[in-house]
Amino acid sequence: MTRISYREALRLALQDGLRREPRAFLMGEDVGRYGGSYAISKGLLEEFGAERVRDAPLSELTFVGAGIGAALGGLRPIVEVMTVNFSLLALDQIVNTAALFRHMSGGQLSVPLVIRMATGAGRQLAAQHSHSFEGWYAHIPGIRIVAPATIEDARGMLWSALQDPDTVLVFEHAQLYNMEGECPDTVAVDIASAKLRRAGTQLSIITYGGCLPKALEAAEQLAAEGIEAEVLDLRVLRPLDTASILATVRKTRRALVVDEGWRSGSLAAEVMARIVEGAFYELDAPPARVCSAEVPMPYAKHLEDAALPQPATIAAAAKRLL
């Protein structure tokens, strides 16, 4: 066990991936000389050289598409998109090519590509750098969506993604980069299942990504008041681990879904639908959710705080369920 930051865990994962997988290379805006806009790839250019740590021009559509082409050509590209809002410039290649090729070609062509990007709000970056579109991406069949929310997952998910024969999108919540925690010396995590992060009996808080620490903090507050909440980290947003969702809900009989996406048409809505479809008669209360306010993310700190799920709002929603 070593105490490291989420940022360091991601950097170690990239370094390890590039060392162990000779077909892997990193490509994106400012990943090389600059060291990554969030300093995730600092030092990698020096170790692996400019061919494998490749600075790309500001052409999201084409460097993501080139990642797809390079994957089809036999490599294992890791493409970094600076932030989720910019990934919309590459949406065509992700949705119309990476996600479709396997099926559209009758099973002939898989796209083993990893796309990483920062997501989420909380640092006063305002509306064009702060949104959470991972729920949108989770709508698309043909790609796998993961959201590491712990040091161990930040360290381990990339390697699992590199082994996946299909495209994996990794959403790193920008608020987590400075989070510190213990990292096991050897990490091997799956990218298929949800994981319980706290055991409880009275309700299940189901969340992922940047909301996990907030949900755990809310669970602590609730525990102080004698309420035992279970916290499930979805980890993988597509395909959803429905069995784990239903298992925790069947145990506690109450479900609160916490999602930084906007409420309407959110991933939270999908999780709630699955709970209702799969465990309706085992519920003791209607499922509830805490999502972001349906506004473009404001700049001012007090407004941004108010727009996002917070430990206090999560705890309050939990109490309303009981």
Binding site: G65, T97, M104, S105, S110
Partner: protein, 342 residues
Amino acid sequence: MSEPRASGIAHPAPPPPSGPVPYGRELALRLLQDMLRIRRLEEKSAELYGAGKIRGFLHLYIGEEAVAAGAMRVFAPEDNIVATYREHGQALLRGVTMGAIMAEMYGKREGCSRGRGGSMHLFDAATRFFGGNAIVGGGLPLAAGLALAAKLQGEPRVTACFFGDGATAEGAFHESMNLAALWKLPVLFLCENNLYAMGTAIERAESQTDLCVKAAAYAMPAQKVDGMDVVAVHEAVKAACARVRAGGGPAFLELCTYRFRAHSMFDAELYRDKAEVEQWKTRGPIHTFSARLKAQGLLTEEEFLAIDARVLEEVRAAVEFAEAGTWEPVEDLEKDVYTSAP
């Protein structure tokens, strides 16, 4: 490109190609046969569309055959091909069988994409034929990536990327041209300029109608080629491909051609004069090439008819193959969404 409409023709056809064909009989007749195979396959496809056997969108290449025929003979088996939704010709000449193409258009399991793609999404991993892309400009980033993989792996592959004049208005075109030139990627960009982006004439869509100027802006060698002349296409592609293969970075060819048929089967062709279409038809790539071969004694009418009969027999067999094909079981609907079942 935008000559005055004095003749009533907005986009006059170039003079028909003339002069001796600089090839021996074997290559000359192969090029002719390649063009005929595309033409006859597509004529039959149009007929079968009318009969309801083929559905969805069907975009015919008729009139443009010299481009695919002249180009496809140049590439080696290890090269990558990326094409558009008007790709029957490229797929066929790459080596996808006519039967597999026809079966795909029928939606049958024996199709080259198991009936999941249709006319616009022909794929063949075995011959490195990467589609069949129905997003205009969508193939260019992919081609840049395939070329990047070849370069990083030290493989001598060239990636040939076909796209239309319409794609040059897409951001993907500009980003990909820049990236390919910046990284000196082994891509050959083959722009099939048929003067219309669906129904929008090039001068109504492009502030700069000389497409080679666009390529030159990315510091890439560019050449305008008579795409109605299979010889001109073959020679230009051969030279450009050799340069790309030798490590000279990407190259761009503008292949000036014309689509004789409607954009798709749903197009009433309200946007162009019949006289223009008729003029271009008189410069058709198959009969002008046949005429040249006959003039220099490389081909007789009997030989032409014999080649055509062989091709028509291939078409007949392809239809028979497609008719005899089977339907993918509905239970397999969700198969191959992921490589491993989720």
